[in-house]
């Protein structure tokens, strides 16, 4: 059950602003101690909590258009917290927090069965096929607030939950019960040079993320903003990442439609 005054952290990504620069990915790597290999060209084996897709409308020049779509974990709520990945984990190594809406991953609990990866349609869950090997000296640069993962466990975007914990600790020390909107921001949000990413509490009408996403709590968070959409909303995953685009083909690219419905096929 959702607690009274529960938060629901979420994100709005304005695809009209995203230039595909990849700063969000780099910031995420640095903040979350994401391992990489010397040859990381096979993206099906590499780990990136934030992945930027490159879409196009499939039309020839001069009608050709492109769009970059950053994809962090969607932190799905599903129906009453039953996100696709959480309910399937046999060892309770992943959790949906009703107080924050964050889907967490407990690395020392995960034994690497990969059922959650099979359950996630967004491919946000990635496996540590190797033990991390950091370039000489880089161990000194690792974020001490984030545990380094070992071979054989699944990991994914956590909405930089260590920052939330740090912000709460700070507020506690200062005698406050609540944190301000800008006290907890994810690394990708802060790194985006175009200001395409907005992060905050979707339940709080004063937060920018709420004002942009306009989530409808009676319809599982569906957006009332005509320019907003969520990825694969029809599956009932109830994600907390909202995308904005003024282009209809981009909005339609976020979900699957039958021919009888409007369908514009996007290409990656």
């Amino acid at each position: 059950m959702e607690k009274k005054n529960a938060k629901k952290f979420g994100m709005v990504i304005d695809l009209d602003k995203c230039t595909g620069c990849g700063a969000c990915m780099v910031a995420c790597y640095a903040e979350n101690n994401i391992p990489f290999r010397e040859d990381d060209t096979d993206k099906m084996l590499s780990i990136s909590w934030m992945h930027v897709y490159r879409l196009n409308n499939g039309k020839p020049f001069p009608d050709y258009e492109e769009c970059f779509l950053p994809r962090p974990c969607q932190h799905c709520e599903g129906h009453h917290g039953h996100s696709p990945c959480v309910s399937v984990c046999p060892a309770t190594a992943t959790d949906y927090d009703m107080a924050t809406g964050i889907v967490s991953q407990i690395y020392p609990r995960c034994f690497g069965c990969r059922y959650c990866m099979a359950a996630c349609p967004y491919h946000v869950r990635q496996f540590n096929w190797w033990d991390p090997i950091w370039p000489d000296g880089m161990e000194q640069m690792l974020n001490p607030g984030v545990s380094v993962r070992m071979r054989g466990v699944v990991e994914k975007c956590s909405f930089c939950i260590q920052r939330y914990q740090a912000a709460k600790d700070q507020a506690f020390l200062e005698g406050r019960r609540e944190i301000e909107e800008d006290e907890y921001q994810t690394a990708c949000t802060q790194a985006c040079p175009a200001g395409a990413i907005t992060f905050g509490d979707l339940n709080n009408p004063e937060h920018a993320v709420h004002q942009l996403a306009l989530p409808d709590p009676r319809h599982e968070g569906r957006s009332n903003n005509p320019l907003a959409f969520r990825l694969l909303e029809r599956l009932g995953t109830n994600p907390k990442i909202y995308y904005l685009s003024s282009r209809e083909w981009v909005r339609r690219a976020g979900d699957n439609y039958l021919k009888a419905e409007f369908k514009t096929k996007a290409h990656s």
Binding site: L45, H82, S87, C89, G112, R114, L232
Partner: protein, 443 residues
């Protein structure tokens, strides 16, 4: 050399021939063992799995062998609960095959996880909402049941049976075997079903997802049903292969005929249910998620996931074996019987393949493409490993244990001394008499 261990009244090949056979299979076993060692030491990077294919060849092999091993619980169900007495002549072999299948499944699960040393977390930190948790508990319990069912067979070895403790233990285990058979049926119903629930609950994967009753998707019931239907096909198939290799008739035709008939009707009704499920899924479930039926099948010529796979699963390997097995004249014709059980085995393996691999191959995000996967040699070797292990265990069991109670009756030996040996055996406590040996549960 080992004649003292061989059951009385039966003929076995010379020891050198047996050693060669075991040696050849042992070489394959060693190859698989080496690959397994690589996986344990170096990790899952030895496979060709990737972030799209978190489940691959091994999970398919797990699901397939568990379905094929379903012959054990279903034959036990028919024998002990329904009361089909004729099946006592094949129940031993069904149990042995089941034991091999389930021990193989557990072995594969052991190296399929990224952190094998944490494997016990599935029991310790169990998430009761996960289908995999239920699978782990029931699978382990049922393997225990199969072990208990297999032990009396081992104790019936000619030498072991002479030891009073083992003789009495075996006898007492027989007395309560029906309880274990019933427990096995109960456990199998749930873990076979939960394996079906593994893809069925994935509401983020429209190819696997199914509606259902309460927490159980339709695949839960279809998997249990298909294991019960096709499992006996595998029991018959392996029995026929054993008969061919040993060049002996080991089980009477009426026993095979009964099991084949029941299997045929089970497949027949299963296929009707499966077709209804497929039609409903294609016309209601998938469209509600924005997918058409054809979105799930690749149009690329030669694709592993073309529409051919559905036709093969439901038609060639479903309807066809069902029709053969429910038609008395056809199933009593050896060539048709062979064909039907082979297609049945293939059919259930195909079903498990699509419910594991195709679920992950299909792009769900509209801007992604089909995902390809080809197993590495380490994955192939470790998947063949259980086959070699199964052949070895069957060979050793067949040579030294009274697995087939009708063997002596069907293959009388005219050699001098056999009659005297048989009479002597009859006179000994615990010795096998001239009558066909009863199955462990019948003694």
């Amino acid at each position: 050399m080992d004649s003292a261990l061989i059951p009385k009244g039966v003929k076995r090949c010379p020891i050198w021939q047996f050693a060669l056979w075991i040696g050849a299979n042992g070489a394959v076993l060693a190859w698989g063992g080496f690959a397994m060692l690589l996986v344990y030491i170096k990790g899952l990077n030895q496979t060709n799995m990737n972030n799209a294919y978190g489940f691959a060849l091994w999970i398919w092999a797990d699901l397939a062998v568990i379905a094929l091993g379903g012959g054990a619980f279903f034959t036990g169900f028919l024998r002990y609960i329904v009361g089909k007495d004729e099946l006592k002549s094949i129940i031993n072999y069904a149990v042995l095959i089941g034991f091999i299948c389930y021990s193989s499944a557990l072995m594969i699960l052991g190296f399929d996880i990224g952190q094998p040393l944490r494997g016990w977390f599935i029991f310790w930190h169990a998430n009761v909402h996960s289908m995999l948790t239920e699978v782990a508990f029931c699978l382990t319990c049922y393997f225990g049941v199969l072990t208990i069912e297999y032990i009396p067979m081992v104790l019936e070895n000619r030498k072991l049976d002479k030891i009073p403790f083992f003789h009495n233990l075996s006898h007492n285990m027989h007395e309560i075997m029906a309880v274990f058979a019933a427990t096995g049926v109960f456990l199998s119903f749930f873990h076979q079903g939960s394996l079906g629930g593994v893809p069925g609950v994935l509401f983020g994967r429209p190819f696997g997802f199914r509606e259902g009753v309460l927490v159980w998707p339709w695949t839960f019931f279809l998997f249990t049903w298909s294991a019960a239907a096709f499992g006996p096909c595998f029991t018959i198939f392996i029995t026929k292969i054993t008969e061919t290799i040993t060049r002996k008739k080991l089980v009477k035709d009426n026993v095979i005929d009964l099991l084949a008939k029941i299997s045929g009707w089970m497949i027949f009704f299963y296929i009707i249910a499966k077709i209804i499920d497929t039609v409903y899924w294609a016309s209601v479930t998938a469209p509600s998620k924005g997918f058409t039926f054809w979105d799930f099948y690749s149009s690329n010529p030669g694709s592993a996931y073309g529409i051919w796979i559905l036709i093969a699963e439901l038609g060639v390997c479903g309807v066809l074996p069902a029709l053969i097995l429910i038609t008395p004249k056809l199933r009593q014709t050896q060539s048709f019987l062979w064909l039907a059980v082979f297609l049945g085995v293939l059919g259930v393996c195909l079903n498990r393949w699509v419910m594991v691999l195709q679920v992950l191959a299909i792009p769900v995000l509209p801007f992604e493409n089909w995902f390809a996967y080809l197993p590495s040699w380490q994955e192939i070797a470790t998947t063949i490993l259980p086959v070699a292990y199964g052949i070895i265990l069957i060979s050793v069991s067949y040579r030294y244990l009274p697995i087939f109670p009708q063997e002596r009756e069907l293959n009388p030996i005219d050699e001098p001394g056999t009659a005297a040996e048989a009479a002597e055996a009859e006179a000994q406590p615990g010795g096998s008499g001239p009558e066909p040996e009863l199955s462990p549960a019948e003694s």
